[in-house]
């Protein structure tokens, strides 16, 4: 046997493997492109830079909604070394077993169902990767992370990551601002271009309405990333990068001090306060009581903790009463009747009707000799007579048909005052109230089966008529403006561009401004003169005009309503106050309105007793 020949086995093996490896390298490195693609796939990352949301300023330039940095406690599993669960749990102030449970929950949350193409069976695929970062705890405040951060170096694999979330320096205006929450699948589907899973989106209020303005522009950065996700280098020297652009700031018409004061006054009460600057339609305050601290719905942790409580609260703090609650307006409705009656020439300024209590109850007052007095005394029979004339104008011989024609005209007038139509402010979900029309009554009573006497309670704003507090405030603004309004809106300027175009349109009522003088004079007397129903609304040195209302409530105590504007000659504020179950309008709503107006006009309150009485009162069903 020639053993020396066996060296050939060695030589062949060495040369063979050398040649095979070289060929393989040639194929891999020179011929096959897949690895270059794969390398790019692995190392080149497109980072999305989330812009901070736009800031909200009040009418005086005070920041009312801003951003605050929070921290996520991140981890990368395969960088965790010898985790001392006990010490770690102690640091985070949780139970030791929760640490493992938390890891498990994170892993579990990345389960994804996929359908096998061949078998059609659903299988669970887990997208969790040991080398990718995940949040162990989200949304820690600066104080919370400060406690943890010093100890973090002892726990390799854990680190902190800054995130931007909302911050509300004033704990008010929750129903105006709305809140942010993680995007839902259908919202994601609607705008795939912008949103990604885990993004937040405005869920209510201005955050929702101005989402597109506030969210800004996402930036992108192309990088060469490390396996740990760290940026090693800019890709192509950053030439492809685009910066993130912060959302537009919103300048609100809201006066945050007035808003806060309104919410303070409405504490322990149910209802709304809406104040408008009549000349522009900017909403100065929009109080919904009860409300909640907007900070309690910042971030997923808070929402999880507090949302259910708010939803289950029987007083419905999440319900934006000024926009969505519909009530019979009560006597404030008489203002419009007087105006439209004059315009339609069924009465004149000096028309008088007897206070005939056989038709409808009234309170003790002298007979109203003219419109001013009718408004001042809020005489129910007066407006019964007046509206009857309006509905039955004698345009048809048949009384029923006449009523239908009259109601048609009447509805048009009401709508021109912003009633019964959606008064589309810049918050979604407003309600339009109810102005019953011909079809409405035909449905209830049958065609030509009704006339004024059937529907007479609408004359004094009871019955089927329903109005939202926003519409009431708008009515106050119309009275202040003597005949026109701008749709009430909260945002007076998006960035430097002014409000949305539709808020710059002047809407005239169907009533000429000349007819307003006697009615407005009546409103002045309501507050300023003896026998007026809202003497409590007076403000020292300022002439106030107002009108009380008492909305009948079949479920309990009547609601207290008051609308007003001031100063009389050059109105700067128009206001509507609605206090549920508070009885007569002059008792509760009027003083609240006056306090609000005084606060806004003078900056301080002269009558501390009045203020004290309101603050200490508690009116809940």
């Amino acid at each position: 046997m020639n053993l020396e020949g066996r060296r050939l086995v060695f030589l062949l093996l060495f040369l063979g493997v050398g040649i095979i490896f070289t060929l393989r390298l040639f194929y891999m490195q020179v011929m096959d492109d897949q690895w270059i693609t794969r390398a790019a796939e692995v190392s080149q990352k497109q980072l999305t830079i989330k812009p901070p949301r736009g800031i909200l300023y009040d009418r005086n330039g005070v920041k009312v909604v801003s951003n605050k940095t929070y921290y996520n406690l991140m981890f990368v599993e395969n960088q965790i070394k010898d985790l001392d669960t006990l010490a770690f749990a102690q640091l985070l102030e949780i139970e030791p077993h929760e640490v493992e449970e938390r890891f498990e929950a994170i892993r579990k949350s990345l389960d994804r169902k996929t359908r096998d193409r061949k078998t059609g069976r659903d299988t669970i695929v887990n997208d969790y990767r040991r080398y990718l970062p995940y949040a162990f705890i989200k949304e820690l405040t600066a104080q919370e992370i400060a406690k943890i951060a010093t100890e973090l170096p002892n726990f390799p694999g854990f680190y902190e990551e800054a995130i931007s979330m909302r911050d509300y320096p004033y704990p008010v205006g929750a129903n105006i601002f709305g809140y942010l929450n993680e995007i839902r699948p259908h919202e994601l589907e609607a705008d795939r271009y912008f949103y990604r899973i885990g993004d937040v989106i405005g869920r209510a209020g201005l955050e929702r309405y101005y989402e597109k303005h506030l969210r800004g522009q996402k930036g992108t950065r192309f990088i060469i990333s490390s396996a740990r996700g760290k940026v090693v280098d800019n890709f192509a020297d950053g030439k492809l990068d685009t910066p993130a652009v912060q959302g537009f700031p919103l300048h609100l018409g809201i006066d945050i001090d007035l808003q806060a004061y309104g919410e303070q006054l409405m504490e322990n009460k149910l209802g709304s306060v809406v104040a408008i600057e009549p000349k522009t339609g900017e909403i100065l305050a929009l109080v919904s009581a009860p409300s909640y601290d907007p900070n309690s719905l910042v971030g997923a942790r808070n929402i999880k903790k507090n949302y259910a409580t708010l939803v289950q609260d029987s007083l419905k703090p999440l319900f934006p009463r000024p926009l969505q609650a519909e009530y019979p307006p009560g006597s404030i409705f008489k203002l419009i009747q007087a105006l439209s009656g004059m315009q339609e020439k069924v009465i004149t300024e000096n028309t008088s009707f007897p206070c005939n209590r056989s038709m409808v109850g009234c309170h003790n007052h002298p007979t109203a000799q003219n419109i001013q007095q009718a408004v001042q005394f809020s005489c129910n029979p007066y407006f019964y007579y007046q509206v009857r004339r309006f509905i039955h104008q004698g345009k048809h011989k048949n009384a029923y048909k006449d009523a239908a024609i009259g109601l048609d005209i009447w509805v048009k007038y009401m709508k021109s005052f912003g009633l019964g139509i959606p008064l589309e402010t810049d918050i979604f979900g407003i309600r339009k109230g109810v102005i019953p029309n011909v079809a409405f009554y035909n449905h209830w009573y049958g065609e030509y089966r009704w006339q004024w006497s059937t529907i007479r309670s609408i004359s004094i704003g009871q019955g089927e008529v329903k109005v939202t507090p926003l519409q009431m405030a708008n009515l106050a603004a119309i009275m202040a403006n003597r005949g026109y309004y701008y749709t009430p809106h909260i945002v007076k300027s998006i960035g430097e561009d002014g409000p949305l175009p539709r808020f710059r349109e002047k809407h005239y009522t169907m009533v000429d401004s000349t007819h307003f003088a006697p009615v407005v004079e009546g409103m002045r007397r309501v507050v300023e003169e003896a026998g007026g129903t809202a003497r409590r609304a007076r403000i020292k040195d300022i002439v106030v005009a107002g009108k009380t209302g008492t909305a009948q409530n079949p479920h309990g105590e009547d609601h207290s309503v008051f609308i007003a504007f001031a100063p009389f000659d050059d109105p700067k504020i128009a206001i509507a106050v609605f206090v549920e179950n508070a009885g007569f309008g002059g008792t509760w709503a009027a003083p609240i309105a006056s306090l609000m107006m005084e606060k806004y006009l003078k900056g301080s309150i002269s009558d501390e007793l009045k203020e004290k009485r309101i603050l200490e009162s508690r009116i809940t069903p």
């Binding site: 020396e4 066996r6 493997v17 040639f26 891999m28 490195q29 020179v30 692995v42 740990r228």
Partner: protein, 467 residues
């Protein structure tokens, strides 16, 4: 060293020294890129891996020079002592705390050595030491058993450490035994002649056991491929038949066909012999399929099985279990023809860390990505040249001891080279063993250098030996 004296002639093999030197230089330059620390840019900063590697090379060269001062005869005589010392270390290491699942480090404080790296060296010496006594070409059974015992002892100790890579490398020694004419014939013949009452003098399988073994491994891989698969057949509804039983079925079918063919066509004289061969082949095939399937399906741990599956391409999980290999392939493959440039690696750079273990087991990724096909093929050439040179040196030895040792050195370096580069370019599964002279690591660097120095020493004194 200068030719200062007439008597002294520089007899060390220049070519081998040159190749190793070039590899060391390549290795250091490459490690500098692979482990670069911006805060310690100096090559001689011993806080960095390149600084340390330089130190290890120095240590290796120092040890090598010391050994070179010893006469090769004494090297031979010291062999059992050295083997025993390393053996003790191999036992001691079993009592240490495992690091990354393997008990391979023995050390005090920051300094540690891996006895398994040195055991390759001492085992190579020891095998040479045992075989050297044989004068003729036929080697006695006693020597075969001794060699087998030494080899198995070292292999098992390494296996207990959970060091799969080194364990595999020990199988390299079978090639050396093959070269020395140590066959497994005696064992095979013992069984065949006693159990089957044959009177065979030698078998082809026994003589060429190692090449045959590799053929068997090839079929073993095919077995692995099918062992787990489930097959259902139309005529056997409901039942799913596992792949391994189908393989056994096919073997049985082939056996029966072969048997009938023999009965019909073979001459009376050959019939008995051929039938025996058929039966032996059949039963050993069944045994092999059975053992491999059983081990694969029942004995292997999950992660080992996954590794095999990934390597076989049965499953793909480029971001999960196959992460290391996928990143390594992407790094090497993205090198292109001329590479991305020194210290310009995107994937395997120390900053990006996409390739794990890029200083040790996956050091070739850095080289492949930065130097491309051009650099890689030069490296292949260098290693092949080194190995071929070692074969040439081995074959010119007069002493069997020297030849066995040099062949052992060659085949061990070859195993390291083949397995390491193989996993880096995706033709072998991931088995963590260092690339000689390139990977960072004190023990392996010193062990390889010492081996090279001993080769040089033995070769330089080859003429003093009377064969």
């Amino acid at each position: 060293m200068r030719h200062s004296s007439r008597k002294y002639k520089f007899t060390y093999d220049w070519l081998l020294m040159l190749i190793v030197f070039v590899l060391l230089v390549f290795g250091l330059i490459n490690l500098y890129s692979a482990a670069y620390q911006p805060e310690h840019p100096s090559f001689f900063d011993f806080r960095t891996l390149y600084g340390k590697q330089l130190f290890w090379i120095g240590m290796g060269v120092f040890l090598g020079v010391v050994i070179s001062l010893i006469d090769s005869e004494y090297i031979r005589k010291l062999t059992p002592t050295a083997f025993f010392v390393v053996l003790v270390l191999l036992v001691l290491v079993l009592f240490t705390e495992p690091i990354n699942g393997a008990r391979s480090w023995l050390g005090i404080g920051p300094f540690g050595i891996q006895p398994s790296e040195f055991s390759k060296f001492t085992t190579a010496l020891m095998i040479g030491y045992i075989i050297q006594g044989e004068r003729g070409k036929n080697i006695s059974k006693n020597t075969v058993f001794k060699v087998g015992f030494i080899l198995l002892l070292a292999m098992f100790l390494v296996l207990f450490q959970n060091d799969t890579g080194t364990f595999l490398v020990f199988s390299a020694f079978f090639f050396v035994l093959y070269r020395e004419g140590i066959t497994f014939d005696p064992i095979l013949l013992f069984f065949l002649n006693n159990l089957f009452r044959l009177r065979l003098k030698s078998t082809w399988v026994g003589v060429h056991f190692i090449p045959v073994l590799f053929v068997l491994i090839f079929f073993g891989i095919i077995t692995l491929y099918f062992a787990e698969s489930e097959h259902s057949f139309a005529f056997f509804p409901g039942a799913e038949i596992p792949g391994w039983s189908i393989l056994i079925g096919i073997l049985t079918l082939l056996g029966i066909i072969g048997y009938f063919l023999l009965k019909q066509f073979s001459s009376q004289r050959n019939k008995r012999k051929l039938t025996t061969i058929l039966f032996i082949t059949y039963f050993s095939s069944i045994l092999m399929v059975g053992t491999i399937s059983y081990t694969y399906l029942n004995v292997l741990q999950y992660h080992q099985k996954v590794r095999i599956d990934l390597w076989l391409g049965k499953i793909q999980d480029k971001d999960g279990e196959d992460y290391n290999r996928n990143r390594a392939l992407a790094a090497v493959g993205s090198g292109g023809f001329s590479g991305v440039g020194y210290r310009q690696a995107v994937l395997s750079s120390p900053e990006s860390q996409h390739v794990p273990e890029s200083e040790t087991d996956f050091i070739f990724c850095v080289y492949g990505e930065e130097w491309g096909f051009l650099g890689s093929s030069i490296l292949m050439l260098l290693y092949t040249a080194l190995l071929v040179r070692l074969v040439f040196l081995a074959e010119r030895q007069r002493s069997r001891f020297a030849r066995v040792f040099i062949y052992s050195t060659a085949i061990i370096i070859f195993y390291h080279f083949a397995i390491n580069i193989g996993m880096n370019i995706g033709v072998l599964p991931v088995i963590g063993i260092p690339l000689p002279f390139l990977s960072y690591g004190g023990s392996s660097m010193m062990a390889f250098l010492v081996m090279i120095f001993v080769v040089l020493k033995l070769d330089s004194q080859r003429k003093e030996v009377l064969a």
